[in-house]
């Protein structure tokens, strides 16, 4: 009798602990988890902003629909992260060759004060020719960043200038404008290429 009761309590205790663990999981990692700060970008079809590309054309999210998109936020006065990422992107595009032809590749500045259309044109000319540079009024860039769930912040430097903190992930969308995934800063080529192919394949599935 004693033993069964003990067992009963034991079972109840295990069940209770299990329940607590489940509730904990639900709230922290499970479907009940609050949206984290770095939440998913909204579809390009739901974004609204107007910018100018490095050739002076009016552009916005609608210009990207119909082809998959790779997008990155940065600024041309960035000595480290931005040239590294644009070199990585150029390397991925070279590795993909013709496979990457349908891809829109855009570099959106978070520093429109210094990154004029001319500055963007000169800067992107040093990287893969598929890369387009987008700039425009600060409030339009803020709207774009909001849609991508990207952040940026101006920070003064010792030299009396300023630098920009910014989201350094590369965003991938399919041809319908649905978010596919991100490539983290300086992610190795063997992880980056399959992600880009996923965004490209989702386009091929639709057309075939």
């Amino acid at each position: 009798m004693k033993r069964t009761r003990f067992l009963g309590y034991g079972t109840a205790a295990v069940a209770a602990v299990g329940m607590m663990l489940f509730v904990g999981w639900w709230q922290v990692d499970g479907p009940g988890a609050p949206e984290p700060m770095g939440q998913r970008p909204i579809p390009l079809t739901e974004m609204a902003f107007s910018l100018t590309d490095h050739e002076g054309n009016a552009v916005g999210p609608e210009a990207l629909l119909g082809s998959p998109t790779m997008a990155f936020f940065g600024f041309t006065y960035c000595p480290d992260v931005c040239p590294t990422t644009l070199s990585d992107i150029s390397d991925w595009l070279d590795a993909l060759g013709n496979e990457a032809d349908p891809l829109n590749v855009i570099f959106i500045t978070v520093d429109p004060e210094r990154d004029t259309v001319a500055a963007m044109a000169e800067y992107v000319s040093y990287f893969h020719p598929a890369i387009r540079g987008w700039t425009g009024p600060e409030e339009q860039i803020a709207r774009a960043a909001e849609g991508f769930r990207a952040v940026f912040e101006r920070v003064p430097t010792d030299s009396g200038d300023y630098t920009m903190n910014h989201t350094a992930s590369v965003f991938l969308f399919n041809a319908e404008g649905q978010f596919v995934t991100t490539i983290d800063y300086h992610e190795a080529r063997e992880f980056a290429l399959p992600k880009i192919r996923r965004a490209l394949q989702q386009e091929m599935e639709e057309t075939t």
């Binding site: 984290p36 006065y77 992260v81 990287f127 430097t157 030299s159 300086h186």
Partner: protein
């Protein structure tokens, strides 16, 4: 111009102080490998240089600063990327390197930030960069300037 003169005078003083204290780390114990920098667009934007610094001696060394005729304000910076993917860059006061250890200055981490360039960084050229250590020890490396889209010393 005055600023450069007073700065090099200060560095000479440091070197002299170091030379008079034989017990301390020696410039010969500091080995710099794989130095490189990217070419710049003009002079308005800051540049960055990368390398590996090895302490082959028996005493710890501490990197406290940089000097170069190429830039008025060279400084060691560190780029950090948060779990949310946000990158930021902050100056680093000093870097201690234990005997037998090395420190890598590489894209996305530590870098020699070259602010207020005095001339454009042109691919194919080199520039001298002096690493200033505590106790006045100095090590100068000739940094090759690679292409604008270089990703490492091999590019």
């Amino acid at each position: 111009m005055k600023k450069i003169v007073s700065m090099s005078a200060l560095l000479m003083l440091f070197s002299f102080a170091g030379a008079s204290m034989p017990a301390l780390a020696d410039a010969a114990d500091i080995v710099i490998d794989g130095a490189w920098a990217r070419a710049s667009i003009g002079m308005n934007r800051p540049g960055a240089a990368y390398m590996t610094i090895r302490n082959t001696g028996t005493e710890p060394v501490t990197l406290i600063g940089l000097s170069t005729p190429l830039a008025m304000m060279p400084a060691i910076h560190e780029t950090r990327t948060s779990t949310e993917g946000v990158s930021s860059m902050t100056p680093t006061d000093e870097i201690a390197i234990a005997p037998g250890e090395s420190v890598a200055l590489e894209p996305g981490g530590l870098h020699a930030m070259l602010m207020q360039l005095q001339e454009p960084m042109t691919e194919g050229e080199t520039f001298p960069l002096t690493l200033v250590f505590e106790d006045g020890v100095e090590a100068t490396v000739e940094v090759p300037i690679l292409g604008f889209a270089a990703r490492g010393p091999e590019d």
